[in-house]
Structures are given as C-alpha cells and as structure tokens.
C-alpha cells in the first residue's frame, strides 16, 4: 500500500490484527445478546480515505442507520457503525429472531435494539484493542441516527477535521444459519496517541 499517510506499515498490520480479533469478539458478544450462535464472516480491516466513505457505503443520498460512540482513556477516538436502512431492518429481525421482512420501520424499540448492538460491538472491539495494546478505554453511550449517509458521515469527517485523512474501516458479515447481514465499522482513533501507544508496545 502507498504510504501517503502518517500510518506506517507495521501500524497498519497491528490495526488489521486488532480489527480481525475485535470483530471475532463482537460475534461472541452478539451471540450472547441474541442467545443463538451468530457467526462473523470475512472480517477485513483497511485504511480508506475519509472522503471516499460515502461512495463505499452506497451513495451519500441513500438512507442509512448510523450508530456512533466515542471512547476515551489512553487513546481517544470514535466508532461509527453504518448500515443501510434495509439492512438495519434485517439486523433487527435477526436480533429479535423474527423472519426477514418483519421489521418495516425503525421506531423507538428498533432504534434502541440497534443502539444496544452498536454498544456491544463497540465494547467488544475496544476490549480486544485494550488486550492487544495494554491500554484502557471507556466508551460513551451510543447515539443512533437514521439519515442520509452523507449527513451521518459528516460527524466523522467534521470531528476528524481532515487531520486524519484516512480512517480504519472494518467490514464483516453477521451470519445466523443462512441469513447474512453486512455491516461496516469505521474506527477513527487519535492518530498521534495511537502511534505513541504503538511505539510503547514495540518496546522501542
């Protein structure tokens, strides 16, 4: 990969390994939450330019659900989980163990379920990051929004303030039997803190 960012190759490798492990961890948490075995397939982690996010998620005008939380501690950052509205309703069906197509709108209950899912994903992911780096983090409560992809992503773009032009993207499929729902997570850590943490861990 062209190193056009302040990330270096080793740091990216570490992030990818944290991402993979984090997503596996999320699957365990997810299974506990719904009381059935949920598998997670094809976890990938890569760095993508902030400005390419809308195209990656669909179109900036498409409706989607964003679940957002921040974390603070040895490292500050934010996590955005974004799912197209249709997929989010399938996720709710999967959470509630209802046939696909049962959920037709996202009311208070549905949003709360998605918020809980985001909370869980964030917490399990952070646990895995804490384990890998020896650092500790506290996540904020989740915020759930149903809006246009572009508008949801403004939160990410505006808060990174173009300081980090790249963010860590993780993608995975949640699977329950033959049902599969894709979700994207964006993790935007404070890059300077992350590099310091990384150097400490390398023991250099």
């Amino acid at each position: 990969m062209e190193d056009t960012t302040s990330f270096d190759h080793q740091l990216l490798k570490m992030l990818q390994s944290i991402a993979n492990e984090g997503i596996q961890n999320v699957a365990y948490g997810f299974s506990d939450m719904v009381g059935r075995k949920i598998k997670v397939g094809n976890p990938t982690g890569k760095l993508v330019p902030v400005l390419s996010i809308p195209e990656l998620v669909g179109g900036p005008d498409d409706d989607a659900v964003g679940i957002y939380l921040r974390f603070e501690g040895d490292l500050d950052g934010q996590i955005m989980m974004i799912v197209p509205t249709q997929k989010a309703m399938e996720l709710v069906d999967l959470l509630m163990d209802e046939p696909v197509g049962t959920t037709e709108h996202l009311g208070t209950l549905e949003r709360s379920a998605l918020g809980e899912l985001g909370n869980l994903c964030g917490t399990f992911f952070l646990n895995s990051m804490a384990k890998s780096t020896g650092a500790s983090f506290r996540p904020s409560p989740p915020a759930v929004m149903v809006d246009m992809v572009g508008a949801i992503l403004d939160i990410v773009v505006a808060t990174t303030g173009f300081v980090s032009e790249h963010v860590l993207l993780m993608q995975a499929n949640f699977m329950d039997g033959s049902r599969s729902v894709e979700a994207d997570f964006w993790v935007i850590p404070d890059l300077i803190a992350l590099q310091a943490l990384f150097k400490k861990n390398m023991g250099s």
Partner: protein, 163 residues
C-alpha cells in the same frame, strides 16, 4: 439528460451551462452555500465542512473550499471572475444540522458553528442571505438548476421541495 454535477465534501462548483444541475448530497453539519446571479445566469455551490482553517490546517492538503470562511470568499471571487456581479447575487444557505443530539456524546455543535461562520463572513462581505434552510437534526440534499436558478432541498425520508 445530463448527469448532475456532484459537489463533494470540501468542494465547490460553478456553472453557467443551462443543462447543469449542481448537487450537494447529504449535507449534515456541513454547510451548502449557494450564490446565483439571475442576470448573467451563473450559479455556484460550495460544500464546506468546517468553520475556518486554523494554522494547523494550512499544510499541503489545505483547500479553501473545505472551510466556510475561506470557501465563501473563494466562491464569490470565482463567480465574479465568471461574470457574476456581487450586488446581484442571490444567496441561499443550506445545512448546518446538529447530527448528534444524545446526551453523553458531547455537543460540539459543528453545524451551528458552521452557520455562525457563514453569517459572519457574509455580513463582512455585505451580502444578504435570501433564504436559509438550516439547523435541525436532519441531513439535506440540495440541487441547483442552473437554467432557471431554481433550488430544491430534500431531507431524509421526505420529498424534494423548492425554496
């Protein structure tokens, strides 16, 4: 029909081609600044992300259109260069929503700060805002039809309407 010209984050577009539609998709806390000269029929759209550049931003990746303050100044200068007259310009402001409204997630209201910056710089430039569809908690898509200067807005889950 010609594809609309998408104006992405931190970009601006100017056109006097009557077939053009300029569009900024999914403005959340971002602000869309629209300036139209109804006589010379030149229209401009800015999609600014943050209120203003601090010193830290003025590096190699610095682009005036990322910021409300420098973006409006650049948009105006470029429009005049393309034949617009400042005194004739119709100005619309769109966006600047507060996307995060839950407690515990903080309230660094960038949308509001963007709007304040826009009004401040327009005021300094002696320019009036003709109409504003701003604030609230929902994203907006804005389109400018260069042919007749019509401006439409659509929010998530709602129908497109003219302003």
């Amino acid at each position: 029909m010609k594809e609309p010209t998408s104006v992405g984050l931190g970009e601006q577009a100017i056109s006097r081609n009557p077939e053009d539609i300029l569009v900024a998709y999914g403005l959340g806390s971002c602000v869309g600044v629209i300036m139209i000269d109804p006589v010379s029929k030149v229209s401009g759209l800015l999609h600014a992300v943050l209120p203003k550049a601090t010193d830290g931003f003025k590096d190699s990746s610095y682009k005036p259109s990322k910021f409300v303050e420098s973006g409006i100044e650049q948009l105006l200068a470029d429009l005049i260069h393309k034949g617009a007259m400042k005194s004739r310009l119709i100005v619309h402001l769109v966006g600047g929503a507060n996307m995060l409204m839950l407690s515990g997630v903080g309230s660094f209201d960038i949308g509001n700060r963007n709007l304040e910056a826009a009004y401040a710089v327009l005021n300094r430039l002696n320019m009036q805002v003709t109409s504003a569809d701003v604030g609230g908690h929902l994203g907006r898509t804005v389109r400018i039809y260069v042919a007749d200067g019509r401006v439409t807005i659509r929010s998530a889950g709602q129908k497109e309407h003219s302003i």
